[in-house]
Amino acid sequence: MVGESGSGKSTIGRLALGLLPATAGRISFAGTELATAAPEALRTLRRRMQLVFQDPYGSLDPRRTVGAQIADALSIHALLPKAAHAARVGELLAQVGLAPEHAGRYPHAFSGGQRQRIGIARALATGPDLLVADEPVSALDVSVQAQVMALLADLRARLGLAMLFISHDLPVVRHLCDRVIVLYLGRVMEEGPTAEVFARPQHPYTQALLSAAPSLHAAQRRTRILLQGDPPSPAAPPSGCVFRTRCPQAVPACATSIPPLLGTTHRVACINQA
């Protein structure tokens, strides 16, 4: 799921985990609707969906050892007898490329990349089916970013995880994701298989976004579409298509109705494409 600030991508991630209530619509996980699930059932579901945070510094409690924080997941859901916790924590740390003896240390002893690995280990501790990764690499240096992305891709394959990967960074998405949803001001602009969307973007916003991203191969890039102005406030979005105020292809009809998301696997919300 890609979008710029104010696109609502993080909010959707929180909604998907049932951390925020939805005003309208349905979110179901493994056939159970979150909004109507009993608190006890929701707690059980929580075990099967986990979150990886953006900020490797704020997401770990500075006052407790990383081992204790990972073990929390085990004791909350009573997944293992207490005696087996230490061994399982060691296993989880090894799984994310750290050493079991790191369990006794406090978060400040680790670098940003290592903290992010600890955050992933904590998320994996409950044995989730779904991992929501909210900009998990955007706070990291590029050389570390690539390591964490490789780890996520590897875990996804090995554990068969479903992953909702939230990012503002198109190249990162290109390499990690099977399908992509492009958001703008809380609405889906375009959705489809990653390769397809990146190769043949249909929506003017997707086209502008792709062309705005700097590239190592600046020479062979497509011509840059420069969007004018700033995105409007999410509190007061424009009528009709929310992108029309910055869209280079806008026509008067864009203001009158919200364009529906049309198409089969590759879907676009633009009246010029309909």
Binding site: L19, L51, F53, D61, I76, M149, V172, H175
Partner: protein
């Protein structure tokens, strides 16, 4: 943490505790024959207006004062913290009830609240404790509530919710330990303040009831005889002051330990003039930096976060200084602009701007260059503009600082127009918080170009911005540079951005330039393993999946003896660890700090 106040308070508390065991006369036993007697062998500090022993009354008074203060602070702490935690964590109706109740309590000045209750319930130590507890309760509620709100918004609390933890568990395990520090500080503050308030009330005759000893009562009583027996007044005053001084010092020490703030402030720092002048080659370009080394004195010894940096930028050219965190790229830019933090100093090197050696200039001369011939743009436009001034005024200030007679108002408007801000007349009157991030960065650029600089240093100017806004700002910078022939030193961590805008690039790692040359050459066929690895780790739409670099950047106080990248390098040989490799010429204008560049 400074331990002296702990010992001070401990001694006072120990004395108060041990009074009953000490061989002292009873504090209430009178000896009217010796009223107002001076110090003697039996009565070290003399006798009061009823002939009672002053020392004994002082120590017993400490016991009364401290126990009243401590009890009331403890009650206030337990009740107040519970209010704050419940209000902050449960929100809703509980929050309104607890917080508003406390707000109302705060409408009564403390002593007034105490007086009101004493009127209703009568004086005495038993009234005093609940009264003081009531007075200090709001402080605890506020501190606990604020702590809970801060903790609540932390990702690690959200992480506990995601794990499925219940409210009680989150409150006890995660939130309480994180507000412990501020609450501890509040306890010490309240206790110290309660001692003052208790003595004040007793002084007025509304606190501790005579004949029980209390410092406030003693001072009140000694006032009547202050001409005949001034010492009688001085002893309790001294005791009270010393006690509060010690307790205040303890509060300060606790606060510093709980909430450490940086021990230094940044100040414009003219560098030590310790260069060997020697024979310097003729300067190249607008900016010419030779052999720049920055030193910081730390408890672990002197570290050099920037070592032997040489670079130049020609007019109309863009040099990108690229590196990851800890590479020293920002420290380099701050050193060039003369804005190093106070702890850092330039230990060697030269920095020449259009031929003038900046390190040999005095501060007023440097100031005339800063913002005029050399201008800067910083990373975070939201914190880099002063929140309390209108943006027009902030731009005009830059103009007037160098050209006091200019028509700053008119120039401000044309600058705003030039950096692409619509409706400049209205926007000039806006405050920074009323603009978007992209607009703020345009304002920063307007400030930077206000005095037609020959050099522009841009430190990560687009890192905080969205992709589409970043494209706007990069285009604006490129246009301005072309239009005005500015030499642009662009500091960034993003290789794609470098590829977009830079004519030449200097790659930094662990405080050194490891490779420099034309961007197309360096990115096309890197001659340093770090450059190559960095390029491979950058995700690119069309390229293969990115590969990370194993290992971490060495700490500045534990640099390897040889090549700083050797521990992470896949081409490492024993030669790499012997000595620090020099910069080798690949071809003119293209250098690498790798001994094996021909073979790898």
């Amino acid at each position: 943490m400074n331990r002296a106040p702990i010992y001070g308070v401990a001694i006072i508390a120990a004395l108060a505790l041990a009074v009953p065991l000490l061989p002292l006369p009873a504090p209430v036993s009178m000896d009217v024959a010796h009223r107002l007697a001076g110090p003697s062998a039996q009565h070290w500090l003399g006798q009061d207006e009823f002939g009672r022993d002053v020392l004994s009354r002082l120590l017993w008074g400490a016991r009364v004062s401290l126990s009243v203060a401590l009890f009331s602070a403890a009650i206030a702490c337990i009740v107040g913290t519970a209010f704050g935690v419940l209000g902050g964590f449960l929100r809703g109706i509980v929050e309104i009830l607890t917080l508003r109740a406390v707000d109302v309590l705060l409408c009564f000045p403390p002593l007034l609240l105490a007086l009101l209750v004493v009127t209703l319930a009568g004086p005495g130590a038993t009234t005093l404790v609940p009264v003081l507890a009531l007075v200090y309760l709001p402080g605890f509620t506020r501190v606990a509530y604020a702590g809970v709100l801060t903790a609540r918004s932390q990702d690690y609390v959200e992480a506990m919710r995601v794990l499925g933890a219940g409210r009680l568990r989150i409150m006890l395990r995660t939130i309480l330990p994180n507000i412990g520090g501020p609450v501890l500080v509040q306890i010490s503050l309240s206790t110290a303040s309660a001692v003052v308030l208790e003595s004040g009330l007793s002084f007025l005759g509304l606190g501790v009831v005579p004949p029980a000893p209390s410092w406030g009562l003693m001072i009140g009583a000694a006032r009547a005889t202050m001409v005949q027996a001034p010492l009688l007044l001085l002893w309790p005053c001294l005791a009270l002051t010393v006690t509060i001084l010690a307790m205040n010092a303890l509060c300060d020490a606790l606060r510093d330990a709980v909430d450490p703030h940086p021990a230094w402030k940044p100040r414009l720092r003219r560098t030590v003039d310790a260069l060997a002048p020697g024979l310097l080659p003729a300067p190249a370009g607008v900016l010419d930096v030779r052999d720049l080394t920055v030193a910081i004195d730390t408890p672990l010894g002197t570290i050099h976060p920037v070592r032997n940096i040489s670079l130049y930028v020609e007019a109309g050219e863009t040099l990108a200084l690229v590196g990851e965190s800890g590479s020293g790229k920002s420290m380099t830019s701050l050193a060039i602009s003369g804005l190093l933090p106070q702890a850092a100093r330039i230990s060697s090197g030269t920095i020449r701007l259009s031929g003038t050696d900046l390190l040999r200039l005095l501060e007023p001369a440097l100031r005339a260059i800063r913002g005029a011939a050399a201008a800067m743009i910083f990373q975070d436009p939201s914190s880099s503009l002063n929140p309390v001034h209108r943006i027009g005024a902030q731009i005009a200030e830059a103009i007037r600082a160098h050209r006091p007679n200019a028509d700053a108002a008119a120039e401000t408007l044309s600058l705003l127009r030039r950096v692409g801000i619509p409706d400049p007349e209205r926007r000039a009157r806006a405050y920074p918080h009323e603009l978007s991030g992209g607009m703020r960065q345009r304002v920063m650029i307007a400030i930077a170009i206000a005095n037609a600089p020959s050099l522009l240093i841009a430190d990560e100017p687009t890192t905080a911005l969205d992709v589409t806004i970043q494209a706007q700002i990069l285009t604006l910078l490129a246009d301005l540079q072309r239009e005005r022939g500015i030499a642009l030193l662009f500091i960034t961590h993003s290789l794609p951005v470098v590829a977009e805008i830079a004519d030449r690039v200097a790659v930094m790692y662990a405080g050194e330039i490891v490779e420099t040359g034309r961007t197309a050459d360096v990115f096309g066929a890197p001659k340093h393993p770090y450059t190559a690895a960095l390029l491979k780790s950058a995700p690119d739409e069309d390229g293969p999946p990115p590969e990370g670099i194993p290992g971490i950047v060495p700490a500045p106080h534990a640099l390897p003896p040889g090549c700083t990248f050797a521990p992470r390098c896949t081409h490492r040989t024993p030669d790499c660890d012997i000595a620090r490799p020099p910069l080798a010429d690949v071809e003119p204008g293209w250098q690498t700090r790798c001994v094996r560049w021909r073979t790898v």
